[in-house]
Symmetry: C2
Subunit: 225 residues, 2 copies
DNA sequence: TCAAAAGTGTTGACGGTACACCCATGT
DNA sequence: ACATGGGTGTACCGTCAACACTTTTGA
């Protein structure tokens, strides 16, 4: 018998800042009092693990993510000094602008931090390891799955989408080639509207989820970047 | 509090039969008495989850796999009629010829079954779902990670390796092109020996693990097929 | 000598990178 | 007018699928 917990690495992206952030909680109780920790908590007896992850996330931060997926289960015997706790880690994606500041919730000491900051201070438990694995997964999966869209508001320009990919992958992408590839995938639905950007207005698009479902069901595997 | 178990989908491949098999156990006790089930068991209090998976596998079947990796954690509240049991599923690879017949072990009712057979009879718990996910993972990951080698004996011919890929991916691969690709990856170490195959003898190779480590550390991502 | 697998060569189609180039707008 | 990002065109180049071909063996 062991305690089973669900922890969540929530990635947020701000189109204005062009920055990837992660949602962390300031611990107010031992162990690791004062450290930053991932949101999460114990799985109740009658709920699924994923439901527990979503529930804990909303209780602690008020966030309902656009995307959530199980990442890995961490279960070293000594990972929690209080006893045997197995953590089923998840990662989630959200457009950060819709959730700043974190609304008055159970624990309003949740906040968005730049990823790099997580390496300059100790995190609670093995949460740094979890964060690193989540980042690896995000970087790997964004290449062939439409994760980038979940980091943006519903409507976005192709440049914003390119910046998401550039930020996550940490490399510069050629604007012309990116545009062609992404349009070729047929996953963007033009809204007809344009956004003034200071210079030439850019077309706004939405993610065509219906089309994605159809394509992936017909055994087609995309390569977005 | 819940019970945490580790279950393992062991894939075995026989070069002679050119068939992918899975290791299943005949259940002798309720629930699901008489059904086939994946090997596995409860994680002890002082061992890591992966250690539990390896221990259970050896206890129940005598097998120490060449490759083992965590797959996914299954935790629907009703997946086990006896109570809340969370299963951390793994998958493992092994060359089947080295393990037939299963030696006299704790439960000698373990045996290798063709994958297709698992769809013609009910499996215990949610083990069919686990098996399907493991198969998806194997098919996906073999494209960019050197999993094929773990399904063969230490020395093998390129044709045997091609047959592994063909079997797992369920498609015919062009012999000439496959050979070129796999040799270009530099992951094969020639042994200098040859094997009489009935026709023209084929060169024997080994997997060059040291080279693989070096290549993957230097940020290089292969595409084997 | 023939069949079959091992192994090599070649060609043509395709796709993507790199870059030059227009377009539309605010200042 | 011009700077800047939005958006389009294109030419070169590498890669790979397809398939012909040679080699080596057992029968």
């Amino acid at each position: 018998m062991a305690t089973v917990a669900a922890d969540i690495v929530v990635f947020g992206y701000s189109p204005e800042e062009v920055t990837l952030r992660v949602l962390m909680i300031h611990r107010k109780v031992p162990p690791f009092k004062g450290s930053l920790a991932l949101p999460g908590g114990v799985v109740e007896n009658d709920e699924s693990i994923e439901a527990a992850a979503l529930r804990e996330l909303e209780e602690e931060t008020g966030i309902k993510p656009d995307f959530l997926e199980q990442l890995y289960t961490f279960g070293e015997p000594d990972r929690d000094p209080r006893g045997r706790v197995i953590s089923v880690a998840h990662y989630a994606l959200v457009s950060v602008e819709r959730f700043t500041p974190v609304a008055g919730t159970d624990a309003a000491d949740a906040d968005w931090y730049p990823i790099e900051d997580m390496y300059t201070q100790p995190l609670a438990f093995d949460h740094l390891k979890i964060l690193e694995m989540a980042l690896d997964r995000l970087r790997g999966k964004i290449l062939y799955a439409p994760l980038g869209f979940d980091l943006l508001p519903k409507q976005f320009t192709i440049t914003e989408l390119r910046q998401v990919y550039g930020t996550v992958l940490n490399e510069d992408l050629d604007p012309g080639n990116f545009r062609r590839r992404i349009l070729k995938s047929k996953l963007l639905k033009p809204t007809g509207e344009k956004r003034a950007t200071g210079y030439k207005p850019a077309c706004l698009y939405e993610f065509d989820e219906a089309r994605y479902e159809k394509l992936s069901k017909s055994g087609w595997n995309i390569e977005l970047v």
